[in-house]
Symmetry: C2
Subunit: 386 residues, 2 copies
């Protein structure tokens, strides 16, 4: 069983926010000597109340606790929704004897519905009393379970190197997209990081990991990825080590997310090479990842590469429209933007489908991970709130 890094502990309860009665409210506390924290949030201009709050919390890079709930996004909830966030943070702060401005809040679930006060606050009160008592702390797995929505499994990743321990949890199964996914994630380390550089490194790593998965092109109002450090192991982590460690964990979590996306049957790796810039390669990958016709073809195990070219052609990336090569699962079905090897040679039975796009315009590359578009996705998302 995976345990928390030194200095961190958590507790998870069922507040009844989920109609299933599953765990839906959890608190993670950093009781270490250092309470470093930074975060990356959704780019969506319609942001949930907890995002607005947490942006302010991480501004001074001091985060002592994180309260997370599933069963409601607290997005598009107006002043009432914001007051719920404020009150929650104050309650946590009072019990832990810390400042409310060091308490980050994350929510996930349906947009446009108020969190039920009569369930949330009594459950939070109980959770805080239990935590003070210390007898009923939760496992990392249960904390991860408490933030699940349509996820089928909790997502956890960890690394241990001598005394240094880092653990990340994440949730997210739909709305996986640009300004991150519909995801919440908390990465905790007991290492000592350089507060002057850790923020920038974390943002860079998020860009190249969480921000390279794009399940359905829909951007969430609630995405939050937090990175917390307690320093309790006493191990100093230099910048290079930090980047490697964070990349490993974030990449692992990101792939777990895309592998558990709503209603998918395929995980699609879209690798674009020969790009004039990394940004061009990302643009090409995203354009393919968001093309419904292509995603349907992949669902049908149909190597319909014309839809890849049609998606590429909608971008402003640098390429010669008559020079593009495309391989599907290793078969170069398109050579110089025209028919290549016979499509009958392509085998698409496996869950992983690999698309390789060569723009022949430079030395850069990037890989975007996505899913097929399935009837199951439609079924799952046509009956979410009702």
């Amino acid at each position: 069983m995976i345990s928390f890094p030194q200095g961190f502990h958590g507790i998870a309860v069922s507040a009844g926010l989920k109609s299933s009665g599953d765990l839906d409210l959890t608190l993670i506390v950093n009781s270490g000597s250092i309470k470093y924290g930074t975060a990356v949030f959704t780019d969506n201009r319609i942001e949930a109340a907890p995002v607005t709050w947490s942006r302010e919390v991480v501004r001074d890079h001091q985060v002592a606790a994180v309260l997370l709930n599933s069963g409601g996004a607290n997005a598009c909830t107006g002043p009432v929704g914001f007051s719920h966030v404020h009150k929650s943070a104050e309650m946590v702060a009072n019990h832990l004897n810390i400042s409310a401005s060091d308490v980050a809040i994350c929510s996930t679930g349906l947009i446009g519905v108020q969190l039920p006060e009569n369930k949330l606050f009594p459950a939070l009160e109980k959770l805080l009393l239990e935590m003070k008592d210390g007898s009923i702390l939760s496992s990392v797995e249960n904390v991860a379970r408490a933030i699940m929505t349509t996820d089928s499994v909790p997502k956890i990743s960890s690394s241990t190197k001598g005394d240094l321990r880092t653990v990340g949890i994440a949730k997210g199964a739909g709305m996986l997209a640009p300004g991150l996914a519909t995801m919440l994630s908390v990465i905790m380390t007991d290492g000592i990081v350089d507060p002057k550089t850790a923020d920038e490194i974390f943002k860079k790593v998020s860009q190249s990991t969480f921000n390279r998965i794009d399940s359905d092109g829909c951007m969430s109002t609630n995405d939050t990825v937090l990175f917390l450090a307690s320093g309790e192991s006493g191990v100093a982590v230099n910048d290079e080590e930090l980047e490697i460690m964070l990349t490993s964990i974030c990449q692992d979590l990101a792939y777990q997310l895309i592998s558990d996306a709503e209603g998918h049957s395929k995980v699609v790796h879209i690798r674009t090479i020969g790009a004039a810039s990394e940004s061009d390669a990302v643009t090409i990958g995203r354009s393919c990842a968001r093309n419904n016709l292509l995603k349907c073809a992949i669902n049908g195990e149909d190597p319909n590469w014309g839809r890849i070219l049609a998606a590429i052609g909608t971008t402003n990336a640098i390429f010669d429209p008559y020079a593009i090569d495309v391989s599907i699962n290793g078969i170069k079905v398109c050579h110089q933007s025209a028919p290549g090897e016979p499509i009958e040679q392509v085998v698409m039975k496996n869950k992983i489908v690999e698309l390789l796009i060569d723009l022949k315009s430079g030395p850069h590359e990037a890989t975007i991970y996505t899913n097929d578009l399935s009837a199951a996705y439609v079924h799952e998302n046509s009956a979410y709130s009702t």
Copy 2:
């Protein structure tokens, strides 16, 4: 039965390009004293060979004939594909004793497959002989049928005003999107138009009609909309009359396209008002039209307005994130970006769903027409080429 405007005639045959044996090759000829022609094409940088050809044809605004085929897009087909276009135009030109540079060519169907020479050219030869013979001319409906792909019905619109007659045909059912849809359309009038202004008027009308439907966000490689005038009625059409007449026909055809989109169960009108610019209103509408989660919710008759706000928030349009109102079928479910009337009041049983978004940022508005995302869409598009 709808007849061609004076000066136009057409013929349609089955060349065997469609495996069904249905009509798939058609020629429209303008034998009038005026052979005015202009066109709007796809914005996709990966464009089909017939698009590359036809762009040159319309440059001098002289179009004497249009050859159209379904059963193959002739896109991503390299030099061989272009030679097929060139040879087809030469054959038509020789038979009609006109210049090949006045013969527009349009294709629609699967991308990345060569048109079968052994079927195309013998069928074209036969078609041209029959046309010369004059005994076997086709109806407008059969010409419209010959360009159908997954369309369930031919799309035709016409207007008559005294001696002036205008008829438009169109096809398109999937890939309905930005640089037009996966659509071909030919609008024919026997009026006399001003060649100095008709081009600009036609482009403007296309923008506000065909370019306001967005079924699945996927841009085609083949979109072509042609406007031809024969002058044979002798009726001069001034600029204002032309704009009204073209808008009426193009709007009608566009709505026929969105009402016959692949696998849909709903036609969604997304009207954005209170925008700082018309462009902002279009951007907001398109963002909603391409949001798979929202489209799934509409499929499930679920008034999940949070997904509308989440889609709005991804744009750069001018708005206050806390001031947006949204109505679904007349019920204001979102007021000031927060919960409004109870969603239980919304009835979504009918085929048409009306979304009204008020940005409260200015006097401009626009309506985008889209469809829901259904399991049927996935089924249809996961088994297209195989």
